[in-house]
Amino acid sequence: MSIIRSIPSGELLHRGGEAALYKVKCGSKLYTLKLYNSGTAYDQKAVEAVAKVAAGSIAGIKNTTGIYRIAEYGTIGENAYVLYDYIDGVSSKELSPMPLEFVLHSLRQAVAALMELQKAGISHGDISPDNVFFDRDGCPVLIDFGIRGPGTLKFSAPERIDGQVPSEKADLFSLGTLFFFWITGDSLFAGSNFDEIRDAIKHANQQRPGEILFGKISSGLNIKPETLSLLEPIWKGTIATEPGSRAESLEELDELLEIALDSLGGQGVRLSRLAEGVREKISGILEKNGTKTLEKVDFPFFEEKKAKNPSLKRWILATAVFIFLVMAAACVFLASGKSPSVDDTGEALLQKSRSHEMELQDSVKMPNLEGVLKKLEPEESE
């Protein structure tokens, strides 16, 4: 039986022009249900591929934690829907601005996930701050693949506004705008109405993100002016009107990000500290969000499976009672001779393993390997 039919109700997270998002529960597992409005839908091919990638079932494509895990998708009544694992985190829109080194590192993670999907011929098409979540560990998770329209205007590539389908080049442009938003908390392409924003995007070549950032430093943006030049290759590889003027591929953007991150010295302890700060911020936002009361909505499709025939209802009841009795008997049987669970074994094994390593570390034997590990023992001074 499909999961969606076994969900009686959900909590409304967001209602938009295209779809409504609900937090739902099936058993003990939490999901997000994206229920499209009648007449709108997702790109079947893209969603199907993402579901397979997330499940690790496509040969040659790495399973990645950087994209959402689709549990089910299809149509119910007149509505298309996508059901995916609930992400215990916050959208990058809520989290921005973030420290530069952390942003570069996170963007690399997002690019890595996109590269895997690219192998399956899938581009995102709607990369925006709302569509990248950060989980409690501070890792980015991309959601909402398979859009059919042009995407979020302020983050769309010019050719997407003209109606072209999602592409790697269009994603590169959106990643540039996302990069800017993550650093500043503001959109690179601003305007008071649709036409103004569209015109700004169409003339993206005239934008000077580095200069805008420099201007923002005086109003409190926490970036050192001397680091701005390190970001120029990234802007050049993303914010360009013509797709052909952008970076060659996501791989090239990844290299540009890596170079910038290395130049900032942002791979070591400092990055860990910044990530810790972001994780604390995420926890704070989640705690605050947890106090909000969400509107509860009963789903009509759940009623469809309710039994209408009274005698069938009786039989279902009898079967349920039978299952309950069998389960209760099984529980009594298992409880009577209960042995430790696999989790207990895992914990014991890991504890033993780490204390064993600690002993080895103490005696400095563990890294007793050739080359690199030889350095563990100090050499005699001359």
């Binding site: 934690t65 690199v372 100090p378």
Partner: protein, 232 residues
């Protein structure tokens, strides 16, 4: 209607029975794993997975069994790279079924071991991506941080290596290797005084550690000699 209901009841009873047997096999695999009978543990967990590849407990049990087998070989200094590769592969599959923190710790440790085993076969192998993944999975895995710092040292990135050792010591002051290694970096740089400081700090954590005792004494003697020679 009666026959239909009967069929349902029989089916439920059968399913319960099969479920019970599967549960039993997981339990037997777990018991075998706990007493070190790894071959039997692998057999039991594998049998459950043949019927239900999504069984989380059996999948976790199988990954742990491979882990225990590889670690046992590790202790007798046998070649372990293929074993850790198999373990990491199993954790990767498990990750699709369960990505909770419990799994992360063991998965992270497997990656650390794989990096270490790979280095033991080829000291120039690039294992940094393995260690990065290990740290991403468990930011408290100081063994991975330590190995990463050793690699940085070998790449002449000693400032970054120092940063990592300091990070480990700050987070886990009982991690003696980090003191030894950090002192070692200073020693190599000719900074005997700092090397002595760090090794002495390590000794405060464990005054019986023979390596730290030895090298603190060597550093002490060197410092005295330097003072006597008027070079300090």
């Amino acid at each position: 209607m009666f026959w239909k209901a009967s069929c349902i009841l029989v089916l439920v009873a059968l399913l319960s029975l099969v479920g019970g047997c599967m549960e039993n096999r997981v339990s037997r695999g777990n018991d075998a794993l706990r007493i070190g009978d790894y071959a039997r543990a692998v057999n039991n967990f594998s049998a459950v997975l043949d019927d239900n590849p999504l069984d989380r407990d059996a999948r976790y049990g199988l990954a742990l069994s491979y882990y225990a087998i590889a670690e046992e070989k590790e202790r007798i200094k046998a070649g372990t790279t293929p074993l850790w590769e198999r373990t990491v592969q199993e954790f990767q599959v498990l990750w699709n079924v369960d990505s909770s923190f419990k799994i992360r710790e063991a998965y992270s440790n497997s990656l650390f071991y794989l990096a270490k085993a790979t280095l033991s076969e080829n000291s120039h192998a690039n294992v940094l991506p393995l260690l990065e993944r290990s740290i991403a999975l468990d930011s408290l895995n100081y063994f991975s941080f330590n190995l990463k710092a050793l690699i940085y040292e070998s790449l002449n990135r000693s400032e970054e290596a120092k940063d990592l050792y300091v990070y480990i010591i700050t987070k886990e002051p009982r991690f003696l290797s980090a003191y030894i290694n950090l002192g070692n970096v200073y020693w190599h740089e000719g900074d005997v005084s700092s090397a002595w400081d760090i090794w002495s700090m390590g000794l405060k954590q464990d005054g019986q550690n023979s390596t730290l005792l030895h090298w603190t004494r060597v550093a002490e003697d060197s410092l005295k000699a330097l003072i006597d020679a008027g070079r300090l």
